[in-house]
């Protein structure tokens, strides 16, 4: 009897061997980074990332391919992070409430990274996740829209507004030489 053609053999072989551990090791960095870049708390990020993999463990049968696995992990991690953030009423501060730094500094200064981080953390959950997916995973607006199940126009709007606010806020301090 002829065997059916194998699609995505690497994933299938892993699943057939029951090697869930290999999947965790391969993708733990992506999942944990999404969580920690969004939540900014390593302990909470680890809990979220563990829950994502446990959910995967229960749903391995539904994963059709390696691409599907990555999509699934990104989607579930994003959803869990946003849900967690909304439930916890994340200590979200309005961009306007973030204090201005006391003095100007030069480009590439660690101050700039810290300042940018503060500003990104102050974004509402959905736009913040859009920014994280865009810059951590280098996803296109269309890919982000598919992942978060929202219209592409919303993704573009989140990106444009977030970047405009970040740029404006940083430029006030660092000047247009920097950005």
């Amino acid at each position: 009897m002829a065997q059916p053609a194998r699609v995505n053999a690497p994933l299938e072989s892993k699943l057939n061997r029951g090697d869930f551990a290999a999947i965790v090791l391969e993708h733990q960095s992506m999942v944990f980074s999404l969580a920690v870049n969004f939540l900014r708390d390593r302990q909470v990020a680890e809990e979220v990332a563990q829950d994502v993999f446990l959910q995967l463990h229960k749903n391995l049968h539904a994963i059709a391919s390696g691409e599907h696995l990555v999509f699934w992990l990104r989607r579930v991690t994003s959803q869990r992070c946003i849900d967690y953030s909304r439930r916890r009423k994340w200590s979200q501060v309005s961009l306007e409430d973030v204090p201005e730094p006391a003095a100007r500094t030069v480009a590439r200064d660690p101050w700039l990274s810290r300042r940018l981080r503060q500003l990104v953390d102050s974004l509402p959950p959905a736009p913040r996740m859009v920014v994280v997916l865009r810059y951590q995973e280098d996803l296109t607006p269309q890919e982000i829209a598919d992942l978060l199940a929202i219209p592409i126009a919303t993704v573009k709007s989140h990106l444009q507004r977030s970047l405009a606010m970040l740029r404006e806020k940083v430029l006030r301090v660092f000047g247009d030489v920097v950005l």
Binding site: R42, Q50, L54, S113, L116, L166
Partner: protein, 115 residues
Amino acid sequence: MTELDDELRKMMGRVEPPGGFAERVLRRAGKPSATETRANLPSTKSSTPAFVRWAVAAALVAAVAGGLEYRARRQEQAAGEAAREQVVQALQIAGSKLQLVQTKINRLHETGRNP
């Protein structure tokens, strides 16, 4: 591509999770969840048809009721027997007393005829 993009990209680079992350995930994955544990427990729901369960219940009720009725009748019967025995005993006592009186009367009569 702006410098802001570069900064954001650098800021959001991937990082490794704390050591032992995969082991902790695997350990948790190895434990059955509460729902799975419940699912594996033997079902408390009986596979016996409902009408059989009702018949058994009715038979048990009838047996208990019959037992109570039998016990009540036995108690009544015992009480009746005890009462009859008491009456018989009372009659026996009364009879012996009468006999004693009769004997004394007879003796008095005999003493009167032969002083």
